[in-house]
Symmetry: C2
Subunit: 471 residues, 2 copies
């Protein structure tokens, strides 16, 4: 592809993306393809010679697009959002064009310095504790941040010897603690780090889904009595099922007195801290050793970009630093080398897109975006409460409403599948207190009240069919 061909294809692609995002609602939200269908349609022998862009583009439109579930549709209410914005897309494009690897400060100083700077902006924007200033790093996802935090906790509990001798030589079970509503990545991190599933203690949660601190204390005491080594507590600021908020202050008092690493996973809800009226969910965050939030969920920054903050970065680098000769650089003592702050060695220039987003929207733009989603969720919650066939399964939290048909699990599940099959909206489900629940999460920048209203009309109509009423 020549420079001239790239320019033409690039301009067309920019225009296509603008068109796509403006009209994403015209596509069926959940891809309707059958397993194997996309592969079958793109299958061709490895090409001996290069092909023209147009051939690839035609195949993309014909064969790939049908296999896309449209996360950017205003009718996407599933999981948590992975929203984006024009400035973020430009940041990603620019990063791809520069093609630099910021593994070391010297391998592109701007990658490191802009990253530390823009994460300090997040400390301001989200009113995070001051001890997170200057100690942020961009990770791919909250899963990776939680793993890094858990490794710090593991090593702190072992007085930083586990790195060296290995857990097999410790001869003691390490235990970690998170609520029964925590994200699966915590258990995954425990498996990766050699802690083991059996040593993941699931602290009971209350009826809202929030961790019960008294149970955390009980578990720690029992584990110590049994000869285990409690090493890590992960609290959730906004659980995946119901956006429940663990009581950070009470948990922090326990971790402080027990001297256990305290991580807070604010992957989704952390963005809400941009609005002063929602900051009560961060009460107690000042006792956290580490914290993560995903601008790639609700802060208009396309996937992937997780921001991880650690009180004492030396704890992290002590755990992850390996320094071979070929990576020795002159400035090692006076600069940050982010390669020691996460699992991979290499790293993209991801700070660019967050820099563009924060500057393009400003504090006010980001707050308006969050507040509108919360407002729409409040409206939807009222509709649910007012319809006698439906019930809320947990209190609305921020932009998430969990609801079901009073008629039970089975009709609720049939309702979900019928809605998703319609192509007109996409929802996912969970179980809360053993009961099947539909989750409606509002997080797309283009979701307006009319979309939520249409969704509600479709839900009511489909519920009528499911319940065997005449619609």
């Amino acid at each position: 592809m020549t420079s001239e061909q790239f320019r033409r294809a690039g301009h067309d692609l920019i225009d296509w993306i603008a068109e796509y995002l403006e009209h994403a609602e015209d596509y069926p939200v959940l891809s309707p393809v059958a397993p194997g269908q996309v592969r079958q349609s793109v299958e061709q022998p490895l090409p001996a010679r290069g092909e023209a862009w147009q051939a690839m583009w035609d195949d993309f439109i014909a064969h790939v697009i049908p296999g896309i579930t449209h996360w950017q549709s205003p009718n996407f209410f599933a999981y948590f959002p992975a929203n984006g914005s024009y400035p973020a897309i430009l940041g990603e494009l620019l990063s791809a064009g520069l093609g630099v690897n910021g593994m070391l400060w010297s391998s592109s100083p701007a990658v490191t310095e802009l990253e530390t700077f823009v994460l300090d902006w997040l400390v301001d924007l989200l009113d995070l504790p001051a001890h997170f200033r200057g100690s942020g790093v961009i990770q791919d996802t909250a899963s990776s941040s939680s793993l890094c935090a858990l490794l710090c906790g593991r090593e702190q509990a072992l007085e930083w010897q586990g790195n060296d001798i290995g857990l097999g030589a410790v001869g003691q079970r390490l235990t970690i603690y998170t609520s029964d509503q925590a994200h699966s990545s915590i258990e995954k991190a425990a498996v990766i780090a050699g802690i083991g599933r059996q040593n993941v203690r699931l602290v009971r949660s209350d009826e809202t889904g929030a961790m019960i601190p008294a149970h955390l204390s009980e578990l720690i005491v029992a584990d110590r009595a049994a000869g285990c080594l409690p090493s890590f507590v992960s609290a959730t600021m906004g659980t995946t099922s119901s956006l429940a908020m663990d009581p950070l202050a009470a948990i922090g008092r326990i971790t402080s007195s027990e001297r256990i690493w305290f991580h807070v996973d604010g992957a989704m809800a952390g963005t809400a801290l941009a609005c002063p009226e929602f900051r009560r969910i961060a009460d107690g965050l000042e006792s956290a050793d580490s914290f993560c939030v995903n601008p790639h969920k609700w802060m208009l920054t396309n996937f992937d970009l997780d921001a991880f903050f650690v009180r004492d970065p030396h704890r992290l680098t002590r755990t992850l630093s390996i320094l071979p000769e070929y990576l020795r650089a002159a400035q090692s003592d006076e600069v940050i080398n982010y390669r020691d702050w996460h699992i991979p060695l290499g790293r993209r220039f991801r700070a660019l897109k967050l820099w563009f987003v924060v500057r393009s929207f400003g504090i006010e733009g980001i707050r308006t975006h969050i507040r509108e989603h919360v407002r729409l969720a409040t409206v939807f919650e009222r509709w649910i409460a007012d319809d006698p066939r439906f019930e809320l399964v947990s209190p609305r939290s921020l932009n998430l409403v969990c609801f079901r048909l009073k008629a039970g699990d089975d009709p609720s599940e049939r309702l979900l599948h019928a809605l998703n099959r319609s192509g007109r909206m996409h929802l996912t489900h969970t179980k809360l207190g053993g009961r099947y629940a539909l989750r409606l999460c509002i997080g797309q920048p283009r979701t307006r009240e009319e979309h939520v209203r249409s969704a509600w009309a479709l839900i009511r109509e489909t519920a009528g069919q499911v319940l065997g009423e005449e619609s």
Copy 2:
């Protein structure tokens, strides 16, 4: 930013990237900024209101560009390359525009199916063993692939119980094996997985930097005798220091008879397998349980994209699968859910860029690209051999030449720093057999013979100055 503003800024940005890549050699290769300089120049208070694109763009040019080390410059000979191409950039842009998360098959079936398909193309292109067909996954970097492989080895050695009971309950040291020339990510993975640095056995390498299999056998026998549990062997197809090739067949015979997981790290050199004349380096790869190669190094696909292949994916998913209710999907048994194949949960649509690259270049285009770099390295090697002031520190391997001044370590190091300070080329160093060596790695698509010739002229001239000769 409106749709119209995005189009205008996007077109300009596409044009800028084309200009940048065509003229990357005009910039000083290694950024000359001092620590803190970029941060100081971008520092401003968190903006209350949104700013216009032009303001950000002006700051990018004025403050970020000076802090960039230009990996896409034809005069970048440092580390290993992170090369890219126009079709790859378009793929990254398209992925950012679609903004989908392929964590589950159903969360965008095309993400999963195109990925499995295009990795099967790599099996064809690189003539990989047939047991890697249908079992590839894209990871961010080789560090993450190696960690996943090590976890499989750990669990296999523990008969898949470590996941559950944790290493602390095993009460036995697990050991892993790699050469003293292996990448730092192997030791990092051992630390993360709870194996411990002390249990990383560094197998001696020969004078070319290749692992000595007899020493591997000795270490395993000694560890078993001492009550340790050998669990993982990682061989390198192209070491970071000198692109040395571990003897895979001999190593594979040992891992097979010892029943130890055998991983092969072909991050850099794996791309050379596209050319039949270089395939001897893969002799024995058929005994590997897992293999990784980074198209983001030498296959024209911008960072990040590592391709990881595992003989039996069930081993991987058995290690990494955690299935909470909110991720249960109808098709779980008949499709791949890649979230269980790596550390993170969420995932970008990275297959697009590799699909575009392979189709745009075709087999011939990729081979031409590799062969030209190897040819240029051969030319450079001859120049080194013909100049009495210089010596080769190891045999040239593929596109990498390691050399030094015969005058010793100190003049060689001064030569390196002087060359990097010039801004006209960028090299990095290593130590081989205890001796300081400069590494010249040729991997940029725009590096032509004239660039290597100019680099050599500059090296000779600078060497003259360093050696105190009149130039």
